[in-house]
Symmetry: C2
Subunit: 343 residues, 2 copies
């Protein structure tokens, strides 16, 4: 694998260095060609590292670079305020490291709106892309994945926006899911041609007329998990509602099955039996669980930016790092640019 | 209970008389003060009745009135075409029976768009209501319900529309769920004040300033099932996506647990154990299953109109009839009108 450096905002999310630093070491362990720039409170970072580096390979220290900054963007900070007061924050400095060429991609678990806003300003959208989008993988019931976008970056979308999301999503799916000619669908409230916003119907026409995209029509919310499409395209509002609704449903079901709200002597037995009989299904259910998510990606920018879940655990944050490394090596931004010019 | 007559479109949906007629008899059985007008193909209706009435109380025949019509509105028919060619269809005649005072409410499992369109034209919105909405009960994880609207009748909504949905939803919840001062929330993609469409933020301000409504703020998709609000208000597009996403997730999970795609000798044992240990939870999961739904209601019209699921079974369609009877007896339209004048 080619050498690469990623810039991490280690302060973002509900989590901070106690999660992001062990996750960084985990990522270094699994990817020997990876180096990391850590942006955040150096004291907190150092105390985590002191604890963990004792038992780590000696070259880890050389592959880590601490960049101290005392300021962070809060999770609940409004976009305007976050952007205005972003100077010197861990998130902004991590993005600027990519801008300056010190790193090839960036990962943060912080404020999504600010991450998108700053990335757009500092890294810029790819030439021709009207709106970068937030994209994530959705597990399907048959054990595969679909790509879904936009997940909240763009609330109001024109037909042209949706069309570009479809294009970006198809290229993302080709690379992330290793698919040829992935099936693209538009999220709608019915499958008939007459349903939904005009922007969706117009995007449907544009996609139908584009033979380079494998457009399969509308998809409704009830089939999101059923693998009917490899790429599911939506405006950011409906996409965010759908994704969070799925996450909530999965979390509730897992809670039910774990018997969180129940007491019964036989419950542990049940749990064990469940795991044996439904091993695959249980794993699949768990993948819908946001705890297991490895984050969403900002797509349509000149560089790779990955947004980890704010509530990520060590494994999830290290998956977000791996994801960013994968996208850099796959040259996703360049491929989207090529795709735009081709279509 | 007071005597009342409902008009049924017995041809609508994927189902037709083989479901709607047994469902009608079931409803008559559980509600001795109910009479039904059956609109549809008299031959099909009669052959179902001949079969079923043998074992039914003798007064059933007097409480049923067959109104023959040979035309139906197709499920996939576009709204414009459906309205233009609606004359003499089972759906239109059932609605007209309410208009003429022959029935006090109407039930159909047919084309939702056409049902809403015809109801608006024939029965008219209540004075002051800008847009009638589609409302349904959502089961919550704690075994209760929330009211959710709009579920697809109004794709683009102004702040004023959302405000009226909140008002109608609150009155619906008071009556259907027997609640005092129900908690009302707006579906959004974040809980911060700065999130979401301008219409949602403006509606939030309007609701905050209205002390007659118990407005509790924004709710995200992941908490829809958690009973955080009694009334969840949304535009019809996002509401429909959220509801269908929930339905799909529930159906998939139930499929998983039933082991549809699995083979194992121990599965029946597991199923039995599951039912014993998780009786409540399993029942709750099943209530999210669309097969168990008793339909949605059109709200904001001068009369009661209930839309059953197109794929309803006998029990579900008879529940839709019961629902309509309940709403007529509760005088929901009148209460909404009173509420509008009060606020």
């Amino acid at each position: 694998m080619s050498r690469l450096t990623l810039a991490l905002d280690v302060m973002g999310g509900d989590i901070g260095p106690r999660i992001t630093i062990p996750a960084s070491l985990k990522a270094l362990e699994s990817d020997p060609a990876l180096s990391l720039l850590l942006f955040g409170d150096s004291q907190q970072i150092q105390s985590e590292l002191d604890l963990l580096l004792k038992n780590s390979p000696s070259n880890f220290r050389e592959r880590l670079e601490i960049h101290h900054c005392s300021r962070v963007i809060a999770n609940d900070q409004g976009l305007t305020s976050a952007l205005r007061h972003s100077k010197g924050t861990s998130m902004r400095l991590a993005i600027e490291a990519v801008q300056h060429g010190d790193a090839q991609g960036c990962v943060s678990a912080g404020n999504t709106g600010a991450l998108m806003g700053l990335s757009k300003v500092i890294l810029q959208p790819l030439k021709g892309i009207l709106r970068p989008a937030l994209v994530a993988l959705l597990p399907t019931m048959d054990g595969h994945h679909s790509v879904m976008l936009d997940l909240g970056a763009n609330l109001e979308c024109t037909a042209e926006n949706l069309y570009q999301f479809a294009l970006m999503g198809a290229i993302f799916a080709e690379n992330q899911l290793n698919l040829v000619f992935p099936r693209v669908a538009l999220l709608n409230i019915g499958v008939e041609e007459i349903k939904g916003h005009k922007s969706i119907r117009d995007a449907s026409n544009m996609l139908s007329n584009d033979s380079t995209i494998n457009y399969v029509g509308f998809i409704e919310g009830n089939l999101l998990l059923n693998g009917k499409a490899d790429v599911i395209v939506s405006d950011g509002f409906a996409g965010n509602v759908a994704l969070k609704t799925l996450e909530g449903a999965a979390k509730n079901v897992i809670g039910l099955l774990k018997g969180k709200s129940h007491n019964h002597l036989l419950k542990p037995l049940f749990g064990g039996l469940m795991k044996i009989l439904f091993k695959d299904s249980y794993q699949r259910l768990k993948t819908i669980n946001p705890d297991q998510y490895n984050g969403a990606s900002l797509i349509g920018l000149t560089a790779v930016v990955v947004k980890s879940h704010g509530s990520a655990n060590v494994e999830a944050f290290s998956n977000a790092i791996k994801d960013a490394a994968f996208q850099v090596r796959q040259r996703i931004p360049q491929k989207i640019l090529d795709g735009l010019n081709k279509y």
